[in-house]
């Protein structure tokens, strides 16, 4: 066999295996959500069974899905918007007026992501308590913004770097103040990049569980808290937990599917130049 073809076959197989590994838990979760609690814990697990909607009915009865979903939407969008408001000027300055330490600063910001979140749980919790931010949407928005800021700035920085400096300078000669330069030239020119950055931020916020579990109880609790509430002290109800998880991830799954092309472009940007 031609070595080139063999190499491609191996790579394709590896790709499918990786995709299968990532997809399987989601598939199994959705499958389990249509089983009865007894079927859900059966060994060996059954692949063929009579599907039931009773778990979804039970989930709906026990908790107000819309309440949690609204919180998720408000917090994800709010945190993303706030992150962009801070990150756009920061990335603009870093991309077009770099100082001696700009690269170091960027690396340092990213390095904060390497610290485990639990390391700052106590101080953040105390701050939240003192500011009355526990179980509030705005509190979570602030934490999520800070959490995603490094990656949002990094992505915007990479996108802004692609905009020719000359165009902004032409704008400056034409009388554009920095704010107009960003709003009328830079942002329209890097709109696809800003869109994919926003998408990624929304997805990261939506799926965030650590801070939402620790800092909210009910009023501001997003869908991740909603899922967790189904692992009750009296035991795990796998089928119901699966049903809750399925409805929690459904919106973001659909959203991600629709914006797939933007996302892939955004994530591979800079890496494949």
């Amino acid at each position: 066999m031609n070595p080139g073809i063999r190499e491609r076959l191996v790579l394709t197989a590896v790709g499918w295996i990786a995709a299968g590994l990532i997809f399987f838990p989601v598939f199994w979760m959705v499958l389990t959500s249509f089983k009865t609690e007894v079927e859900a814990v059966q060994t060996p697990p059954s692949l063929f069974f009579t599907p039931t909607l009773e778990n979804y009915a039970a989930v709906r009865e026990r908790a107000d899905y819309v309440h949690f979903a609204t919180n998720s939407v408000v917090i994800s969008l709010g945190a993303t918007l706030l992150a962009l408001v801070v990150a756009v000027p920061a990335a603009y300055a870093m991309a077009f007026f770099p100082g001696k330490r700009t690269k170091d600063l960027l690396l340092w910001m990213l390095s904060t992501k390497m610290m485990p979140a639990v390391g700052v749980l106590i101080p953040v919790y105390l701050l939240f308590r003192d500011f009355g931010a526990i179980d509030s949407r705005w509190g979570l928005i602030v934490v999520y913004t800070l959490m995603n800021l490094p990656i949002v700035i990094w992505m915007l920085y990479t996108f802004f770097k692609e905009v020719p400096k000359d165009i902004l300078e032409a704008g400056r000669m034409d009388g554009a103040r920095p704010r107009q330069e960003v709003w009328l030239l830079l942002m329209p020119l890097s709109l696809p990049g800003i869109a994919s950055t926003a998408l990624l931020s929304i997805i990261l916020c939506w799926n965030e569980a650590f801070w939402s579990l620790n800092l909210t109880t009910s009023a501001a609790a997003p869908l991740t808290t909603f899922i967790a509430s189904f692992s009750a002290p009296e035991g795990l109800f796998w089928a119901k937990l699966s049903a809750a998880s399925t409805v929690a991830i459904a919106p973001i799954l659909v959203f991600g599917w629709m914006s797939q092309r933007q996302l892939v472009r955004g994530l591979t940007f800079g890496a494949v130049k």
């Binding site: 165009i167 704008g171 400056r172 000669m173 034409d174 009388g175 107009q180 020119l189």
Partner: protein, 377 residues
Amino acid sequence: MATLQLKGVRKSYGALEVIKGVDLSIDDREFCVFVGPSGCGKSTLLRMIAGLEEITSGDLVIDGQRVNDVPPADRGLAMVFQSYALYPHMSVADNMAFSLRLAGVPKDERRAKVVEAARILHLDKLLDRKPRELSGGQRQRVAIGRAIVRKPRVFLFDEPLSNLDAALRVQMRIELARLHEELAATMIYVTHDQVEAMTLADKIVVLQGGIVEQAGSPLELYHHPRNLFVAGFIGSPKMNFLPAVVAAAQAGGASVRLAGGATVEVPVAPGRVRPGDSVTLGVRPEHLRPAESGEIAGEVMVVERLGGETYLYTRLADGEMIVIQADGEIPTRVHERIAVRLDPATCHLFDEAGLAVERARRHPLADIRRAETQRAG
């Protein structure tokens, strides 16, 4: 009215000084061209005038007002970039109207001004197109249109023609000369192309290593280069340089002996050189003519025939290579031996430090502005 002065202008990036003290005065309606090899600081100097680069020290004065700390747009300048730098997401009309929009000019007035500029530049039919739908030459014209619309005091051009192909470049060069006359504006133009410099400029500023080597009219630089660098930079093919020794110095000039043994009496101002000094004799290829016999002789190594003229690359007995510009019809072939007669009146003399020894007679065209030389011709 727009005059511009640079007084002791310097620019450093940290410890690295790139502009090392430039003094320059540009008159109203003058077409001033900065020319020099790449890295000489000509673009940096232009960007400092534009306000895109800070001036480390010295004064930039426009119409008598020091503008070092005035933001770019408020200096009353417009700039045309090498890359055109059009706004890709805006139509041609919006590109040209952008500065007016920022200045809060009402829509009707904006439209009128854009239409007027489009007429001057023959862009009337393209106003609704996006930049990506235009050819290189059209984009260039839009970039110029964007500058015209602002009615600036001074136009700045940063190598505006270097992205165009040769034919279009000639056409745009003529267009620019026409625009300069029609707009009666002060223009500063950066290029590395000495043909652009010679044809467009009232004043050429030759820069090298962050300093001004010489500033003057094109023909002044051609006939009276101040040093070896300017002599070699202006003119194409470049001036031939031959090592020589001063044999005698009289009131009417200096007799110099070439390496080959021949003596030439060059008419230079008296007093600068003394017998025994080593000097460099400079003579342009177009001032050399092959002859039966002459002061220098050598073997033709390469023949370049351009049709109208022929360049003979000739190696002299002492190994020195010189270029001779001969007639297009000349039958000379490679490896033929030829002699060249020197006309002393066309020779330049440079001292050991590379500075020109002033010529005895000032060339009649050297001090006349470009517009006037054209009228005379």
